[in-house]
Symmetry: C2
Subunit: 466 residues, 2 copies
Amino acid sequence: MRIKIKQLKSSDAANRFLGKEITIKGWVRTLREQKAFSFIEVNDGSTLTNFQVIADSNIDEYERTIRRLGTGASLAATGTIVENPDKKGVLEMHATAIEVIGTCDQESYPLQKKRHSFEFLRSIAHLRPRTNSIGAVARVRNALAFATHLFFQERGFCYVHTPIITASDCEGAGQMFQVTTLDMDAPAKTPDGKVDYASDFFKKPAYLTVSGQLEGEIYATALSDIYTFGPTFRAENSNTARHLAEFWMIEPEMAFADITDNMDNVEAYLKYVLKYVVDNCREDMYFFNKYISPGVMEQIEQVINTPFERTSYTFAVRILEKSGENFEFPIKWGMDLQSEHERYLVEKYFQKPVIITDYPKDIKAFYMRENDDGKTVAAMDVLVPRIGEIVGGSQREERLDVLEEKLDRMGLPKESYWWYLELRKYGTVPHAGYGVGFERLIRFVTGMENIRDVIPFPRFPGYADF
Amino acid sequence: MRIKIKQLKSSDAANRFLGKEITIKGWVRTLREQKAFSFIEVNDGSTLTNFQVIADSNIDEYERTIRRLGTGASLAATGTIVENPDKKGVLEMHATAIEVIGTCDQESYPLQKKRHSFEFLRSIAHLRPRTNSIGAVARVRNALAFATHLFFQERGFCYVHTPIITASDCEGAGQMFQVTTLDMDAPAKTPDGKVDYASDFFKKPAYLTVSGQLEGEIYATALSDIYTFGPTFRAENSNTARHLAEFWMIEPEMAFADITDNMDNVEAYLKYVLKYVVDNCREDMYFFNKYISPGVMEQIEQVINTPFERTSYTFAVRILEKSGENFEFPIKWGMDLQSEHERYLVEKYFQKPVIITDYPKDIKAFYMRENDDGKTVAAMDVLVPRIGEIVGGSQREERLDVLEEKLDRMGLPKESYWWYLELRKYGTVPHAGYGVGFERLIRFVTGMENIRDVIPFPRFPGYADF
């Protein structure tokens, strides 16, 4: 019977497998060949570390078999599980049969034992999940995604698939990708020389969504608590380690909830998913902490164990003004917080995660609920060490008249928002929600520097390969 | 404390809540007003059925409060939980306070008590989740999605986000949506009058994915077992009740697996998620069985409890030839099975779910593994009653030489498949997978006729509203 290596590394593995004959299947990571026997380190991706197979001349055609193996080759090894004589509690296999499933040309295989730059690995995105780092990212990403579902399902939230393609005008067309089936070289034109969308698939211009929030509000005002988890798009020409054109977002939305409920929920959410990773990805997290970002485990533990600081934007600005720091962008009430300000607040002043609330209304989106002071809105940003803002959210404006006035003031066309406004016309409720940039969360958890390395196939300006 | 209605309907609700004072929040479904007291049916979307609140003149400003309520209005009701005197075990609330949160104009509110056509409801997609049917679809969809994650996570599969935007040529550009940031009215042109993609976002034509399978194979050949669950797109001009331009797919891929492993996995998957819905969505399923598709529960139970029939295409064709049925498309070895053939096999001949394997190679995709007979490939389709094909999959061609020869034969450019071929060059393994059309699955489970009603915001030719 085939056993996955993860099971052979589990705490009850000795009880279950010692002395038993089993089969493992995987890929050779290293082969130490000796005349009469060889050590084969096998990995099957179920876990970070390899499993050692000892092959000796007992196996059929020992020499021919070993000659066909090498880093990257795939095999099935059958044999008895024994304890490593030098490492108490560590299991290994004495092979009785080895089947070479797929060979691997050692001359051309790009993943030899030496360490490769992440930049090089991106150019072989079809092979990089076979490396320790990108394999570990994949498992941690999986754990964070599943923990996200567990958290919301346990609390009775309904998972909603909001649309990817949208012809709705509400999102604001800036920095959106257009979606079309027209022949780009020679689209049909109207008499005045413009593209004639009558022959496009959706009969009007359509775009890729930048957020599922507005549609999420539709479902929250019917089912009470919902969340989305899907891809979103930004056609921003940013060639940085922090931006992707295609990324995944988690957007919970709660009816009958205010900004305090929102803060309570996001704090519980972050603690929950981080704890899940710590509990379920021990080897991977050990690896990140040791080789990628020393100290990352401590930062995670701190987020899990420390109550988040909650402070208003106005108070945060006062702290920054009094800090005596020489900021590149001198702080002033009314401006958005820059990365340097956020890091000062999180890393120096509070030294723990901070939720900043009640931002000036002029720097925040139209849908955020206006506070009674007439100057601020019930927005919240969650800041964590190293990453800065990891979550943004708000209580939404549920008062029809206030929202209509706001749209007018901002010059947004009310007709486009007809359905969004009707949510306020028919049984409106206070509601709140937030958005988690999933790749930012993974960057925080793994300590990986470049966002292009925490998504399987990154998309950015000039790049959509694989 | 606010309690959700789902909790008040649970089997231990009497123990927990009888005699207690609690608060519920939700929307009025019906209001039966009487002079001295009123019955208010409240729904908060956590469950299908409403919760009855009895308000009498004890509450503050009884008349003014009741006058402001009506179908669709939102409220918070606080009171004591009592047993309905006429219905043993059914709880209701004697309200001591009612707060009208949001009123609802009864003249213009489109969701009055009468039944609406699904077509009409599609035009008010922002309100339709407040109806019994679309609310129930949302909860069943959520349950199927979560059960999907549970099934694969329990088995050690890694959830992988394959790309949505792709410039890879492998997918075949037919019926794909193009993604661009060029000014459609006046894109930059090359000297020969074609669109100059140098100034497009990805510097070449990019499209929306039709499947994550090929990228899924990348991760399977590194992590052993993976699955995707994300949106996919088809720019097919099909205005039918069975097609969407944007839909969700689940695509598991297993390394070291053959077509039999694939069949075992898909059968276990379908039984698992159906059982999860039966166990967790009792009220919703009762509703579908009673009002939408009588018999749907029985069909689901049959899929859960019956081992699937497994038969080859060749044998299936023989059955069809001997059936004596007068098919619109007379059956002949080599042609694809039509809906009428599939239904005959599932509903009349076998009278249970059927997995059909080993289709003629000429009607199946290039990546399917060629069988030793030289005529068929290791494909599999899962057929269920009423829907027909609900899953398609195959063992993949893992032999480099066979795959290269196949690409040549089909006139596909090998250069475009360089990375797909390298998976076979470096440690190739037998592997297999399948794709579940998520909306088809929901149609099967709910009995909903039109696929546009099982996705929150359907996209089809001429339509991408909301």
